[in-house]
């Protein structure tokens, strides 16, 4: 097991800069996810680490070994010398090889002796719970089974790092959730350093030790799933990770009686908990839809952060309900399992606790 360090990676395709100075670190034995919308540079970054693309600038280290560096005279280790394992989006199982041949390929490339190959293939197939599948061909397996063969193939030669290129995106929803858990267990069991690439934020939340949020070739935020969700660093992260109501407001210099910071959003004044002293100025606030409490009667006087508005739209998401609320010139999205039954056009009141309002950016 080794750690991965990426330093100042830049990759241009013609005039487009796909990766624009990305640096991050995957600690030994941890699972880090590159998360972002399509075209954010996550796949290019992964391809550079795997050796399918050469960077224009920057360096990639596995442990203390430099495997890629940009510019003239840069170091480019071909992919077959990097000792990495990789699982692809559509698995990339070789259809003309049996499961055992697929799994043993990497061992044969490393000139492992015949007896060892058999034993290691067995062990790898046991790890992914596919004992006895060795003689089958990929076309005879279900999607989930093919997926596990791909993992066995990537892990069998004990690579330094495991690279996962959206490996769950081809599975149907139910299976995807199951495989997600299995993948996490597999990673913890083998303790392999893993870099995971996905555009699915729920997936990223569920299995990562750390998430690197990418957008347009740059890093927007690095942090644990909780940090990313609870305290998004900016508007992009707030809206990309889950749904968020992002509001623009002015901080007033005088705190309220309870010591909370007051922020004026349009006609409304919201009280929030803010670390440190605030000196005023413009900020962006983020409020998650599930943090709202909705009632049909006005709450008692003195309750902080109450807004009232008209229901514009209601969406039933299966369990969770969603209301779109028009408050003055703004639209708010509210979600919850126990929202009251309302009609479109009805007036409702919504409140949010001061600690659930996050300041994501100061605009000087």
């Amino acid at each position: 097991m080794r750690e991965v360090s990426v330093k100042g990676l830049v990759k241009r395709f013609g005039k487009v800069t796909a990766v624009d100075g990305i640096s991050f670190h995957v600690p030994k034995g941890k699972m880090v996810t590159l998360l972002g919308p399509s075209g954010c540079g996550k796949t290019t970054t992964l391809n550079i680490i795997a050796g399918f693309e050469n960077p224009d600038e920057g360096e990639v280290f596995v442990g203390d070994r430099l495997i890629s560096s940009g510019g003239l005279g840069g170091v480019i280790l071909p992919p077959y010398k990097r000792n990495l394992g990789m699982v692809f989006q559509s698995y990339g199982l070789w259809p003309h090889f049996s499961v055992a041949d697929n799994v043993s390929f990497g061992l044969k490339m490393r000139k492992v002796s015949r007896g060892d190959v058999v034993a290691k293939v067995q062990e790898a197939l046991r790890l992914v719970r596919l004992e006895g599948f060795g003689d089958r061909y990929p076309s005879q397996l279900s999607g989930g089974e093919q997926q596990r063969v791909a993992f066995a193939r990537a892990l069998v030669y004990k690579p330094d790092v495991l690279l996962l290129d959206e490996p769950l995106s081809n599975l149907d929803a139910a299976l995807r959730e199951e495989m997600r858990l299995e993948l996490k267990e597999l990673q913890q069991q083998t303790g392999i350093t893993t870099l995971f690439v996905t555009h699915d934020q729920v997936e990223a939340m569920a299995i990562s030790d750390q998430i690197v949020v990418l957008n347009q070739g740059r890093i927007e935020q690095v942090g644990t799933p909780e940090e990313i969700y609870e305290t998004p660093a900016n508007q992009f992260v707030a809206s990309f990770i889950g749904v968020s109501n992002v509001l623009r407001g002015e901080i007033s210099e005088v705190p309220d009686s309870a010591g909370l910071t007051l922020v004026r959003v349009g006609e409304q004044v919201l009280s929030c908990k803010i670390e440190g002293r605030s000196k005023g100025g413009t900020v962006l606030l983020s409020i998650r839809p599930e943090d709202w409490e909705v009632s049909l009667q006005p709450p008692r006087v003195g309750t902080p952060n109450v807004v009232s508005g008209k229901v514009e739209k209601k969406v039933y998401l299966g369990g969770v309900k969603e209301l779109w609320l028009r408050v003055q010139d703004k639209q708010l999205r509210l979600q919850g399992y126990r929202l009251p039954s309302v009609e479109v056009g009805q007036s409702v009141w919504a409140e949010v606790r001061p600690e659930d309002i996050k300041i994501i950016m100061r605009i000087e």
Binding site: R65, L66, I76, Y80, K81, N83, M86, Q89, L93, F105
Partner: protein, 571 residues
């Protein structure tokens, strides 16, 4: 597993070598003879270096130049028109209507495509010679008329036979387009109230128009470059076209190499222009003839009583292109004397024995040997080069790949005669001195048919996910290992299809062979042509059937055993 931190400077990888090597090789094959063709047209003799316009002025001074141009144009345009008139309705009949036996018809319609044109031309020679041709004899017998119904040795006869054998290009292109068309497009027209006829005319046909045009342009190129049919049908009627005229120049004493080269230049330019057009239209066609609409099938149009008309139309084509010619050859192979009625008493196996043991035996044996050597060596080398080229074109981001793609395409626009004259100019001199060897034929064949290989393997590569390659690299396989162990096995269907296509094309090749073959280096097609020239009907029939057999069997085998979509698209 590897020593950490080892600094591997980016160096000359095997892939770089392969890319450059295969481009240089292909450029040598394709451009070198073309270069010498142009050079040659400005010289007076292959052995001297001079610059002169004499070849061109000589050609312009030819008294019958206008006639040759007219004949060539009339033949190519007429045959192409005939091909569209027969190919498009047939494709629609088998692709969209309830005409009986359409699966069988589709299969049989491939036979004229696979049948070597020389075989077809020779059988039509016997079928429609004014006085003794079987069709005319039959006509006179039935009607009591003294005049033949059809004189094949006319421009009309030439167009007719040429049309029969280039029709498959239009038929196949249109069929594929109809099959690949999203049925939703037609269904939408039906739902919107379109009747079958108006839907066909206003939706279906416009959608496949690029494919029709593209097939028609290929048919046009084929008609231009064809030697066999003008030689067998045109020459006896004193109708010369470019290819036969070039051949006549080489037969002269001394051979007019420079004039032949000068005559090749316009021929090449016209087919090059046509190919460029074909490429453009095909490109346009791709935009909307996409496969889509899972599970939907195009609606079958019920023709009612008209379906027998449709069947008759298709059968008429098949009878003319396949039935009658093959019956003639079978008759000729086993009949005691030409003109006898095909009764049991008049049949004999004697001709077969004479071919095997008679005085033409050395030629036949030699020709079979030469053709098989050329076919096996050529198809193997050709498909090998094609596989590497297809890989570079489709799977690398190398800058030169567009040029390589272009190189692998131009031979389609180089008529056999042009390649032959170019090779003559390029390789008669030291250090090559290849004139009259099998090697020069091999070079001509590989050059001519490499596009088939690149296309067949290329189609296969596009169906193999790039992840399979990447997975091999990540697992620790260098490029060469990946290519051998992963890519080649996966591409095998395409490689086999390409091999067979090249092999079959080489077996029948005549346009270039007839100008390049040397002493005792006859190929099967050349031998057939020589024996036909001597007028030995029985031998000709047997040899023609043998050549047809050598084409039909490999194609049938590959269709039987390589069950993959793309081979069906190729054949």
């Amino acid at each position: 597993m590897w020593k950490g931190g080892a600094k591997v400077i980016q160096r000359l990888h095997l892939t770089n070598l392969v890319q450059v090597g295969c481009t240089v090789l292909l450029a040598g094959l394709v451009l070198y003879p073309l270069f010498w063709l142009f050079m040659g047209s400005f010289q007076s003799d292959p052995r001297s270096f001079s610059f002169t316009f004499k070849a061109y002025t000589n050609i312009l001074a030819l008294p019958f130049l206008g006639e040759i141009i007219y004949n060539t144009a009339a033949m190519a345009v007429g045959a192409t028109a005939l091909a569209v008139l027969m190919g498009v309705p047939m494709a629609w009949i088998v692709g969209r209507t309830d005409t009986p036996f359409k699966e069988l018809l589709t299969l049989v319609a491939l036979i004229p495509f696979i049948t070597p044109p020389l075989v077809g031309a020779i059988s039509w020679y016997y079928l429609a010679t004014p006085n003794v041709g079987y069709i005319n004899v039959f006509w006179k017998w039935v009607t009591g008329s003294k005049l033949p119904i059809f004189d094949i040795f006319t421009l009309k006869g030439l167009i007719w036979v040429m049309g029969l054998y280039v029709t498959p290009y239009v038929f196949i292109f249109t069929s594929i387009a109809l099959r690949n068309m999203d049925p939703a497009l037609e269904n939408a027209a039906y739902v919107a109230g379109g009747r079958p006829l108006s839907t066909t005319l206003r939706v279906t046909l416009p959608l496949v128009a690029p494919a029709i045009l593209s097939g028609a342009l290929l048919a046009f190129i084929q008609s231009l470059e064809m030697f066999a049919i003008p030689a067998a049908i045109g020459v006896p009627g004193d109708i010369y076209v470019f290819t036969t005229e070039i051949w006549r120049m080489l037969l002269g004493m001394p051979p007019k190499y420079a004039e032949a080269a000068a005559l090749c230049v316009p021929l090449f330019l016209v087919s090059g222009f046509a190919l460029w057009g074909q490429y453009r239209f095909m490109g346009k066609g791709r935009e909307y003839t996409t496969v889509g609409g899972k599970g939907h099938r195009p609606r079958v149009i019920s023709l009612g009583r008209w379906r027998y008309v449709a069947l008759a139309f298709t059968l008429f084509y098949l009878l003319m292109s396949t039935g009658l010619p093959y019956l003639t050859l079978i008759y000729g192979s086993f009949i005691k004397a030409r003109g006898l009625a095909p009764t049991w008493d008049n049949l004999t196996l004697l001709h077969l024995w004479e071919v095997i043991a008679g005085d033409s035996r050395p030629l036949v044996v030699r020709a079979i040997k030469n053709s098989l050597i050329l076919g096996f060596a050529g198809a193997t080398l050709g498909v090998g080069l094609a596989t590497v080229a297809a890989y570079v074109i489709h799977r690398t981001r190398w800058r030169g790949r567009a040029f390589l793609d272009f190189l692998s395409l131009i031979p389609l626009a180089i008529p056999g005669a042009v390649i032959a004259i170019g090779l003559l100019w390029a390789y008669v001199r030291p250090p090559f001195n290849l004139y009259g060897t099998l090697t020069i034929l091999l070079l001509a064949y590989i050059t001519r048919f490499i596009p088939f290989g690149v296309r067949a393997v290329g189609n296969s590569i596009l169906q193999v996910s790039e992840e399979l390659e990447k997975a091999a690299y990540v697992s620790g396989a260098p490029w060469g290992t990946m290519f051998r162990k992963i890519l080649v096995p996966l591409l095998l269907p395409g490689i086999v299809a390409g091999w067979v296509l090249i092999f079959v094309s080489m077996m029948r090749e005549l346009s270039a062979s007839i100008m390049l073959y040397g002493f005792q280096k006859e190929t099967l097609a050349v031998a057939l042509f020589l024996i036909w020239d001597e007028g030995r009907f029985e031998y000709v029939s047997i040899l023609a059937l043998l050549i047809a057999f050598l084409s039909l069997v490999p194609v049938a085998l590959v269709r039987r055993f390589v069950r993959l979509g793309e081979t069906r698209e190729i054949f």
